[in-house]
Amino acid sequence: MTNYRIALITSAALFAGSCSAAETPAPTAAPKPVAAKPAAAPAATTTQATSASPHYVQAPSGNNLTFTFVQEGAANKGSFRQFATELRYDEKSLPSSSLNVKVQIASVDTQDKDRNELITGSDFFDVAKFPIAQYVASSFAKRADGGLEAVGKLTIRNVTHELRLPLTLKPTAGGLELSGKTAFKRLDYGVGQGEWKSTESVSDEVKIEYTVSLVRSRT
């Protein structure tokens, strides 16, 4: 309690005059960027090195991320409305290509309010604790059939598993269109707790389909 008070006073003193006055983490947060600066420098050079691969970011529209699962014998569909994609891609340098997709779990839409609440609740995605699902691939590879795939890891509910993401890249006016489909098992990631661990009524397998419009970024 006393420590907390001191911290508050210190932070108040540090941020005197600033009306934003972030409360608790202020004393620790403030020096952090300063300490991080030297460490950030080599990281920046690494980015520079890979920046040979053109950089693409998600366009404001033309993006779809849908999922399909089987419920009581019928295919049920839903989608995520908000997600962000970043791609570094050079077809001549697949190992240094990379893909990063961040999905806002709260943006899930199964066209039914009750089910959206259920899915974002603690038995499924537990959005309060895990607001973001992420896919990170730090290299690309050719598939046996000649197609392209991202070699990366999917993290949902803080559980990470390797996942190869097959994808197609098509040139567009402003950049690229990335699309593909894959599937994963929801229970590998703890999506389905308690009675929902049963796969009798809700399938373990979830299929995903994605289409993302990417625009070339100067950075």
Binding site: Q71, E72, A74, K77, T110, Q111, E195, S198
Partner: protein, 183 residues
Amino acid sequence: MPFRNTTRSWGSLSKAFHWLIVLLIINQWWIAERADELKGLAKLEALGTHKSFGMTILMLAVLRLLWRLMNPTPELTSETKPWERALARISHVSLYVLIFAMPLTGWMMSSAKNYPVSWFKMFQFPDLVAPAEQTFHQMLDLHHLLFKVLVGVALLHVAGALKHHFIDRNDVLKRMLPFGGVK
């Protein structure tokens, strides 16, 4: 018992349609009542079964209607008064309409809520309407209302059959009983 209807009595297939649908409707009511009290996975499963039985009734209704059109309909006795004939006609037509309308409104509820319908997890039916919360609630209200109408008309239907049997003392009820018949 003949397979087809005659102008005097119902054949075995018409009787099978009649009684099977009666049992399925009672079963539907029972599952729906139970599902209302359930939550989570158990509710999902109960509604999945309710939907599968509902689609069974709809498919039987199609076959039953075709069979009725392909067969003679047993006639009412000559003593039946015009108002009785009219009431019988109205209730029979209503019951036929209801065995289509109940499953169809249920199916639309499922489509509107984006919970597509399967038949006992074996195959999936297409969606009838686009997902929309308002449509779901309209169909839900209609489904409930039609059930009340169904109960009312079914009771009238039973009352009519009992009148034929106990008051008019004719064969109208007997000829629809599973193992009854008319000479």
